[in-house]
Symmetry: C2
Subunit: 329 residues, 2 copies
Amino acid sequence: MNVKRPSGKPFAVGLDLGGTKILAAVLDEKYRILAREKKSTKPDLGPEAVVERVADCVNEALAACAVPHAAVCAVGVGIPGMVDTRAGMVKVAPNLGWKDFRFARLLQQHIHIPVVVVNDVQAGTMAVQQFGAGRKFTDFVCMFIGTGIGGGIVIGGRQYRGAAGMGGEIGHMAVIAHGGPKCGCGNRGCLEAVASRGAIVRRIIEEMSGGRKTVVRELCDGDTRRIRSRIIAEAYWEGDKLVREIIHEACDYIGIGAANLINILNPQAVILGGGLIEALGEKMLPRIRKAAWAHVIGASDERVNVLDNGLGDDAGVLGGALAARTLGK
Amino acid sequence: MNVKRPSGKPFAVGLDLGGTKILAAVLDEKYRILAREKKSTKPDLGPEAVVERVADCVNEALAACAVPHAAVCAVGVGIPGMVDTRAGMVKVAPNLGWKDFRFARLLQQHIHIPVVVVNDVQAGTMAVQQFGAGRKFTDFVCMFIGTGIGGGIVIGGRQYRGAAGMGGEIGHMAVIAHGGPKCGCGNRGCLEAVASRGAIVRRIIEEMSGGRKTVVRELCDGDTRRIRSRIIAEAYWEGDKLVREIIHEACDYIGIGAANLINILNPQAVILGGGLIEALGEKMLPRIRKAAWAHVIGASDERVNVLDNGLGDDAGVLGGALAARTLGK
């Protein structure tokens, strides 16, 4: 007797293409991660060079688990920007410096596997819904705290991106209406400008160059470009006063942003993710929750349900793999 | 030959029960308004007295168009607070000072017509969707600028109130995260605390008692309790410097609030209503639009579509009548 198998190929590659690093993973049909690969993105070298680095990352991950290219249904790539999934096109990705770039076709020429591009936050939200803390809910909001702050909104079990697919820009919610710090978008006082990892790093560097004492100076060997989530977390755990102060302030703002979303949308949960939350969630979440509680109308345990997404850095590659399976051919 | 008629009674009463005034209207099957009645609410006299005033309002409106009580299917009452429609109960209505009040039963005893209670913003949003600027859209957000600021979210043609029906509290979105003016909710810097008609009136009174020159002083005959939308609008049209300054600032904040909603939800339109917009929309809308434009990511004409709801003060009674027909027996 024959057991019927789904016609598709058994493996998928999920890829998280960030402004600083590329993460790739090979996953089997049950979304178990068989191998991972990681490279720095180096967007300054130009789009073609980045595509080559992405291709290398995919090839090396496949080699590491001895999965042949022909057994992969598709590579799903989460992009930090606006994409046209059908056309395989990156419309605009500020952190990569890309505009109207036919990414999917070019990558496909390198790896000979179908390529699916999706927005990274959308991919991450899919992963949180399928595999993370979102599994238990039909209505929730994801907040991804990274270089920027992205948001995924799930309503009635389906991701909601608004009338033109441009919703979820929660990082550009103004929380300091006048005179706040400058944001990458050109405005001032956006949540992203005061509470993203990018904003936190900027503040640390500012204070350092102002002569303020901090262990970050040694942890990054004087090279401020090396300040990432891990170094911030290390400084925090070592009790560094400056880092604690800045992180606590960011938590306040993230909590206020979460409260705004709760007041507007009344979700079952607000679910946090991103490198900083992975590294410091245990310390940050109680503070974020406290700030949210203070700003939610009719605050209650059910109403102020602020959680870690439970996937850490894997949200991106899992979401990419989901996109590869559901949107790939 | 008999023409089949729908079994229901041909008329409905829509009632808008605000903290300051009661508006009632009798509507026919085509939602044409046959008669209106208006009274001040006087919530200080206690809930029973308010119910009597509401009953008088209904009776007088019916008398004015000679519609017998027996021909009315139901009275739909929009309440500024949280209601349990099924139980006919007002759970909490801060502006009326009510808590767990069986309003529907009591009113029904006075008028002998079925009574349906709904949240006023929800009712207004229904009206905007059926009869106002919302007719053309499937995804939009209503902002009602009144004593407070309420919000109605329509997604895919259906009103969305969140997981526990408590969404839409857009007035309590923090736009000045730290140190803003105090809000009725206990927090600081809520949109409602800087941009509602209530906040505008408070600021005018403060400046007046600080000795600032304004025509409002004469327009209200020295009785600051009389300062409502109409007086504010009159002062604005007369070119009163103080009122213009305060209104323009409020427009900035409303625009920022609208931009936050656009960035988060990407609706087809943000649709404004409430007494102040009815009285001054022509002057306020361009300013609100300009502020929204400045704060929306990827602003475009389609994306920053900020409109007047087109129903003015009738949104409440129309919404009440819709609730009476759709939720009444």
